[in-house]
């Protein structure tokens, strides 16, 4: 049954490619579309796991990923971006080459970490976990290097994509956790929406740098 591994690794690999694309993309709408694509691939990957592991309840997780993160959230955020009139903005991404190199380093590191630590686990779980960790770490890198509130949101949600990939790849992990992840995405969206709204209200910008000017501990 080697095609089982191949398909799931192929899908996970596609998600990783999306992560790299997110890392350098500087136009907001394009970032949003890449994220949507990543979420759709995630739902395919989760469906594949559901099918091959014989755990039909994972289809719920897949459906959540598809509908919420692949369709609903991108549409809401796109509307938001168009309303604010910032869809033409180009965010300056500093040091694309360096960021990409760090991203590559992170991907290699997660391979070495996971493959080294999971000698006892089945091969499918090992590779899937390694790729998921790479997606998580690249998402973190994106949140650190970007200064725009929107792209930080996207970075956070791509981390969640990696987490769901890891959770479904771990065979037999109970449903309670999958629900919780979906739940957390919902709450995260709520919180983020509130903040983006408030940031806009206060500063007329979603650039986080505007926030950094105000800090409580200055003389």
């Amino acid at each position: 049954m080697s095609h089982v591994y191949e398909v799931s690794h192929f899908l996970a690999g596609l998600m990783l490619v999306c992560s790299f694309a997110l890392l350098y993309q500087d136009r907001l709408l394009a970032v949003l579309r890449i994220f949507a694509a990543q979420a759709i691939i995630l739902s395919l990957a989760v469906s594949w796991e559901a099918w091959t592991q014989g755990r039909p309840h994972l289809f719920i997780t897949a459906a959540l990923a598809l509908v919420l993160k692949g369709i609903v959230i991108p549409i809401i955020l796109q509307r938001f971006i168009l309303q604010l009139g910032i869809h033409r903005d180009i965010e300056k991404v500093v040091g694309v080459v360096l960021t990409m190199l760090i991203g590559l380093g992170l991907a290699a590191m997660s391979q070495m970490l996971i493959i080294g630590a999971t000698t006892g686990a089945p091969a499918q779980a090992r590779e899937g976990l390694a790729i998921a960790l790479a997606i998580i770490l690249i998402g973190l890198l994106m949140m650190i290097t970007r200064r725009n509130a929107f792209t930080q949101i996207i970075g956070f949600m791509s981390i969640e994509n990696g987490l769901i990939l890891a959770a479904t790849g771990a065979r037999g992990m109970p449903l309670v956790v999958e629900i919780s992840v979906a739940f957390s995405v919902l709450i995260a969206l709520f919180v983020f929406a509130v903040f983006v709204f408030r940031i806009r209200e206060r500063f007329d910008t979603v650039d986080v740098e505007a926030l950094e000017r105000v800090r409580g501990d200055q003389p």
Binding site: G172, M173, F195, V214
Partner: protein, 478 residues
């Protein structure tokens, strides 16, 4: 397990549902206090029922300590919040609309912390802690000032990074247990993982612990992942600062301790103790020096929280019944004292209309009562006798000295540095020419007095029953 155990979760969530529907500040603030008191009693009841384990929940000596402390401070903070937020509404700092869901959120926050504390399933533990964090993010941003939004944003970004890493660590722990316990819910049950700790996959367990340490360590406020903590403490409403410092940090530390217990139950796994010792010491000494540069009174005490959580982490890292006992005691004393200080600081900030230390002068002349209270609180947290913090710090230092004499110098040094900073700041606020404006403060001093009396009693004499209880918990912590 007797169903009464679930009351500590059921009461807050049930009241939250009611509070969401109710308008008006007065009624909901009273109900909030009632709910918190009921939860506290439910927490006390846990002392009388025998511990038990089910698939999703566990009650043992360790988490009863945390739950009782959590519900007690939750109750006094609710009491303080009722009068404090009332004053904030009167002075127009917050609008009625923005505190519309404040009390419901407060109950959800308390409930989810209790979920985390009572959870036996490591996934549920994570869910509880995550929910509590998200709620506090919203509450930190309550004032909607640019500073509050920046603080909440930073808290959210760093908090979600911590959440993600902790979740990945949870998945790895599950995989580590899968070989011994099979697929499914068993491999996520903490008690089963602990019972079969020797059969867990060691390399996965080690890797998992690194992720959990960074993830939950962010929540504990360990340096260098502490950056969110001072901002969140200083910009949020003061009752929330008290809850953050007194409770949420503890709950995160509790999560870390559960995993440390798994590590120490497996002889082949790496030693978690030295890592905790180093992180604790770095946080302690770093925060002690940072205290000198603080200009905002709430940030000052936020850094003091980092310092004390560092010391507690250090004690638990040292391990063994004695150090664990001292660590538990210090954590309890710190929670009580620090939340008491935040209550006093809340009143001071309202009296002077500012949080800037430079603008708070001559309290002993303008508000003698407040000045005495603040002074007692600061002396207590600085570790001076006869308060309980002195006792627990003394225990930690002597235990360390008995085992690694040279190591004891480092925490002692950090504590002295912090003592200097706190006394310096206290002196500048208490004395000197009182400055304008000075408002009268009409607020309840009961929560503050209650905490300080408890800390004082603990410093003078620890009841034998309490000692026995903490000893059992410390024994179990390993």
């Amino acid at each position: 397990m007797s169903p009464v155990v679930y009351a500590v979760i059921a009461i807050p969530f049930a009241f939250a549902l009611v509070l969401v529907a109710l308008p008006g500040y007065r009624l909901t603030s009273v109900l909030n206090v009632v709910a918190s008191l009921a939860t506290f009693f439910a927490g006390l009841v846990l002392l009388t029922v025998a511990g038990g384990v089910s698939d999703y929940f566990i009650v043992d000596d360790v988490n009863i300590v945390f739950i009782v402390l959590n519900t007690l401070v939750g109750f006094t903070a609710a009491l303080f919040s009722a009068s404090y937020m009332g004053h904030e509404i009167e002075t127009g700092r917050v609008s009625l609309a923005s505190v519309r869901f404040y009390h419901a959120m407060y109950q959800v926050m308390m409930g989810s912390m209790n979920v985390a504390l009572i959870a036996n399933n490591i996934g549920l533990l994570w869910v509880g802690l995550e929910l509590a964090t998200l709620i506090t993010v919203v509450m930190v941003g309550l004032y909607r000032t640019p500073e509050a939004i920046e603080a909440a944003w930073k808290y959210f970004i760093l908090g979600s990074v911590g959440i993600s890493l902790a979740f990945f660590g949870t998945i790895l722990t599950y995989l580590a247990g899968q070989g011994a316990l099979g697929e499914g819910v068993n491999a996520m049950s903490w008690s089963l993982l602990h019972a079969h700790a020797g059969e867990l996959d060691v390399s996965l367990l080690n890797l998992a612990f690194i992720f959990l340490l960074v993830g939950y360590g962010t929540k504990v406020g360990l340096a260098p992942m502490h950056a969110w903590l001072p901002d969140a403490h200083s910009e949020g409403p003061t009752p929330i600062s008290a809850v953050l410092s007194g409770l949420l940090l503890n709950v995160a530390l509790y999560a870390l301790l559960r995993f440390k217990m798994l590590m120490s139950a497996n002889p082949a796994a790496m030693h978690a103790g030295p890592i905790l010792i180093v992180m604790g010491l770095v946080s302690l000494i770093f925060a002690a020096f940072m205290l000198y540069q603080r200009r905002d009174i709430k940030r000052l005490f936020a850094y003091s929280s980092i310092e004390h959580m560092g010391l507690v982490t250090f004690a638990f890292g040292l391990g063994g019944p004695l150090a664990n006992f001292a660590g538990l005691l210090h954590m309890t004393m710190h929670s009580l004292t620090k939340s008491a200080i935040f209550y006093a600081v809340g009143h001071v900030a309202q009296a002077k209309g500012t949080q800037r230390i430079a603008d708070i002068k001559g309290l002993s002349v303008s508000h003698p009562g407040l000045a005495v209270g603040l002074a007692l609180g600061v002396l207590a947290i600085a570790g001076l006798p006869p308060f309980g913090v002195f006792m627990s710090e003394f225990l930690i230092l002597t235990t360390t000295f008995a085992r690694h004499p040279w190591l004891a110098l480092l925490p002692a040094f950090g504590l002295l540095v912090a003592l200097g900073a706190l006394l310096l700041r206290l002196q500048s606020m208490l004395f000197g020419e009182p400055n304008e404006p000075a408002h009268a403060v009409k607020a309840s001093s009961i929560p503050f007095a209650l905490h300080l009396v408890l800390v004082l009693i603990a410093g003078l004499f620890l009841p034998a029953a309490l000692v026995a209880w903490f000893q059992r918990a410390a024994e179990f912590l390993g």
